[in-house]
Subunit: 350 residues, 2 copies
């Protein structure tokens, strides 16, 4: 660790892994030890083109990767040997098997939300559980939907307004990059279970949250969309609620009456301001739509499932490494590096 920076390995270079790798590059207290994957296709060419050191996620993958022109720096063990923290972004259930390897090598590790809480015993959302993650061996950055739930409900809880919350989640059917491989068309597919898993999952971060979710898959790929009905602890006015949300840098207030009338317009905005991949790291709440009626609050927001966990993962790295004791300070660093917190100066609130 000659640079004094936290050396981070990214295992799994998919939708989340590639974004985590790119975000690590932007942090002045971290360095990217390398990325590991088992694919030999175009994605690794892109990773190589970015100058990332590429490792074979499984020894048997190395030969094909090399044959397809990927410069393979070594196997996963060799990547881990040069890292302080590994961020596991492999597909659901693959990660569980990797844990043994990480432990054997004595590396701190971060799992993504597809894994169970019990796999690490700690679930992470920066604004809520940074301090309890400090110096731990491992944590799990919760899923995109769960992250959005904890961010928004915590904002209401901090000002003493949250009593209970009931949400309906419209889930994007699949991710854009693989939508040619299958999705849903011209239908809606309800999740069979009520509550859907996101409500209980939010309680792994904050057991005090009284939250129930229902979910349905919708035929589009841009992002998730949540509708919430929250019972407040008392009668409130709209401006109090907006202030509570505005206090979080990771919640952006957007307005239909400024043309941000649907998911596609918000994504276009993100692309236009130069966000990598058009990523929306914030929860985007529609400010003009939001309604307070007595002690009841209604609102809808957009969750970019590809992007929202990226800043959380960066903060989780700092928490495990213990290089920053203060969660707010870590978030401020991450936010500055990723351009988070500037949206309120964008056209939505001029």
């Amino acid at each position: 660790m000659t640079t004094g920076k936290t050396r981070v390995a990214v295992n799994g270079y998919g939708v989340i892994g590639k974004r985590v790798a790119e975000a690590i590059i932007l942090q002045d207290d971290m360095e990217l030890a390398g990325v590991a994957d088992i694919t030999a296709d175009w994605r690794m060419q892109v990773a190589g083109g970015k100058g990332f050191r590429i490792y074979a996620g499984r020894p048997d993958a190395s030969a094909e990767m090399t044959a397809s022109g990927v410069e393979v720096a070594g196997n996963l063990d060799e990547l881990l040997a040069n890292a302080d923290v590994v961020v596991d972004c492999t597909p659901k259930k693959v990660a569980a098997a990797n844990i043994e390897t990480y432990r054997k090598m004595g590396r701190k590790f971060i799992l993504q939300g597809g894994e169970k809480h019990d796999a690490t015993g700690h679930s992470f959302v920066a604004e809520c559980s940074y301090e309890s993650a400090l110096g731990r061996e491992a944590t799990r950055v919760v899923s995109c939907n769960t992250t959005s739930i904890v961010r928004t409900l915590s904002a209401l809880k901090r000002v003493g307004l949250l009593h209970k919350a009931r949400g309906t989640l419209l889930r994007r059917a699949t991710d854009p990059w693989e939508s040619h491989l299958g999705g849903i068309m011209n239908t809606l597919v309800p999740e069979a279970e009520i509550p859907s898993h996101q409500g209980p999952d939010a309680q792994t971060v904050d057991p005090e949250l009284d939250v129930v979710t229902m979910a349905v898959k919708v035929p589009q790929t841009l992002s998730h969309l949540h509708y919430w009905n929250v019972e407040l602890t008392r009668t409130a006015v709209k401006e109090e609620v907006l202030d509570a949300f505005r206090a979080s840098s990771r919640i952006a207030m957007v307005r239909i009456d400024r043309g941000l009338a649907a998911l596609n317009t918000v994504k276009e905005w993100m692309l236009d301001i130069g966000r990598p991949h058009g990523d929306l790291y914030e929860v985007a709440i529609w400010e003009d739509m939001l309604k307070v009626d007595g002690n009841e609050l209604y609102y809808a927001y957009m969750v970019d499932n590809q992007a929202i966990v990226i800043p959380e993962t960066i903060d989780a790295i700092r928490a495990l490494a213990g290089t920053e004791r203060n969660g707010q300070a870590s978030m401020a660093r991450t936010d500055a590096a990723l351009g988070i917190g500037r949206l309120s100066r964008q056209p939505t609130s001029q």
Copy 2:
């Protein structure tokens, strides 16, 4: 009125009008005086093929209709002269102008849900407001979404379980027949206003309902989908709630675990059992998904926006004509003619 049957005119032969006309044919106490429209395209050829007498909805439309091969029996005035009740299925806002004509001719009339409550001063859902419509000059059959809300919440109210209801409505973007003319693709479009209009609209039928709705347009054409969170008057068990819903012939219980896992499968089922146009007249509630937790009830249901108001319109005709004083008796007649109430003997609950 030599037959003793109620003579019904249908003005506007679109998505609703054509279904109303076909449903009237099936009632043994009604006869279809004819249908009026202003279009000269394929739709009128179909109407002619069914043997319907076709009238020009506006005098200036007659020439083009005749030129395109439609046999025009006369103008709207002539149709009305031979009818006891007219069902107005013209596009939103056109109906308001027709009211003068209906009144001048002394005809009873039914408007559809796109019109305002004030246009008739009475809003109709058979299970809730049949008796108050008896012998009136006019009523308004409320919209598909509102009909579903009143049906389901009334079922809970009748057994004393309803305290308040909060719903999120996923609205189909456009109707199948005109989806080539424009819709939405790969995005979600939230309605700017909370509450959306359906909650207040349900209160025009039953002012006692404590109901708030939010709505979002989704990129599919099959039907609407509602998610509801209902606070009950007391702790209940699931079977009580199911019994309340089962008591209504116009609510069908469906099951994900029998393969009815999404909107498209339910529509395919309706086509397979020979329903005209694949119409689902019932509100289809997913029985296995439905959850009761203490005094809170969660469920989702499907609303076929093209079909659900058809039986209501038939009942409304009887109520205005005064030929049947009892709402339940009218519903039973309508149900028998349209095959409603037989779904519970379909594969969902075998």
